[in-house]
């Protein structure tokens, strides 16, 4: 009899332990969104790390921009979310504070950059200068301090889940010095649904040392 009581006590404790976390369950649903809007912001990369700036003057070897791609309805837009959870887990009072990650309906396939001004005597206005740019994902310290190729940025957007906000952002950095007083670029982003977003940077005044 005593053994049965002890066994029941152990079972009761085990079930109690199971019930408490059992009330809290998140599913793996993601909320879809589209990339249909684009912003380009100037980057000041003269220091150790790039920071966004409103100043339109850049050093000849430090021409850099940040590109932001997001849904025109807002950074955090998501369709009305309906939980797939059943039973107690679906009850609001019993559910966890689950985050609802976002997933884009399409991914980046190309980044094309055209210079509106001559960069040097060899690189005329209207040239495709994509090969002279490297990129760096924003808010991603795992990539270290080095840059990524433009292809890497595109590849990493395929199947990417966005946990913080529905926005793809990355920096673009020119690898050659600008041998001109002014610079301006058209940045075109191609997507897997064959759509293209294009925007033009602000007119940059080049400052030599």
């Amino acid at each position: 009899m005593r053994i049965i009581k002890r066994a029941l006590l152990i079972l009761a404790i085990a079930n109690l332990i199971r019930i408490i976390p059992g009330c809290c369950e998140c599913d793996d649903s993601t909320m879809p969104f589209n990339f249909n809007k684009m912003d380009i912001i100037n980057l000041d990369n003269s220091g150790d790390w790039a920071v966004t700036t409103n100043i339109d003057t850049m050093m000849a070897e430090a021409v850099a921009f940040e590109v932001e791609l997001f849904d025109s309805l807002g950074y955090y837009y998501a369709e009305d979310f309906k939980s797939n959870l059943k039973g107690f887990s679906s009850a609001r009072a019993m559910s966890c504070d689950c985050s609802f990650p976002l997933k884009a309906n399409h991914y980046l396939t190309s980044i094309r950059i055209t210079s509106l001004y001559a960069l040097s005597p060899e690189i005329d206005a209207g040239s495709d200068v994509s090969d002279f740019f490297v990129a760096s994902p924003t808010n991603n310290s795992s990539s270290g301090s080095l840059y990524s190729s433009l292809e890497t940025i595109c590849n990493e957007s395929n199947g990417k889940t966005y946990y913080d906000s529905g926005m793809e952002s990355f920096g673009l950095y020119l690898t050659i010095p600008v041998d001109n007083n002014q610079a301006r670029f058209v940045i075109s982003i191609g997507f897997s649904d064959n759509s293209v977003l294009s925007d033009t940077t602000r007119l940059i005044t080049i400052k030599n040392k």
Partner: protein, 295 residues
Amino acid sequence: MSSTRSLFVFFQLLLLFAGTSGILAQQRPEKEKFYFSLNFGGRYINRDSLANTEDLDFMNYLYKQENAAEYGFISLNFRMAPTQKIEFSATAVLLSDLSPNQLNLDIRYKPVIKGNPIGWGLIGSFFIYPQYLENYNSFHIVRDTGFTADLNPNFRQISIYDLGIAAGPTMNYQYRRFFAEISFRTGLCGFIPFNERISQKKTDANLRREYDYETRFSPAVFFMPEAELGFRLTSGGRLNFGITLKAGGMWSKRAINYTRKTYNWTPENVIISDISPDKHWYSKAEIQGGFYITF
């Protein structure tokens, strides 16, 4: 480094437990001898400081003090002699962080010559001990002008471990309360490989680059003489208590060879170089004293 340190602690505990269980398990106490000592000491490291070349020489950045011991330590030595001819020894050493991250293992063979206070023998040793490598980014700070030469703002200091095996003859002397031992060992040692990364950015420019250093085990021959003196203060039954003094040195000519990967802009743009810096004269001297008990 923390995993290496954990491994040492594990081995040391294993040895201490093995020794303790050995004491308890043995049924022939009249033939076995156990020795435990607690010593306090200082360690002096000397190495050449060679002029900078175009390649980083890690040996130039081994921790060095002027006119003082580089490291103070506490040494715990446990010895077990299952027979009169064989003796096993394990030593754990604690540096200023009081973490037992140094291990010495010795085995001695001592043929007994009855009636002669002077004996001889052979000793085989394994050791591993840490030392600081620090401020090596100053090489880049001096050389790479026009760059933020190290984007890591923290003081650069790591522990690297010197590992070695050695063997050689010993000579011992025992007369009444006094005993002494001199050994002359020679062997191979080398620093356990480690990795370091230096990230840089050109001032007023987009250029970023990284140096990844992956050192290689670079064995060097060394010579290691050592002397130990002991004096028994009291004894009661099988238990003896005394004082001990020990001094030793190590000399070798050695280098830290490495593979350097230089990344410019992106990880795909890499230049790989195998670097073998010039060898430095390196020496280590230790002196320590303390108490021992035998039973």
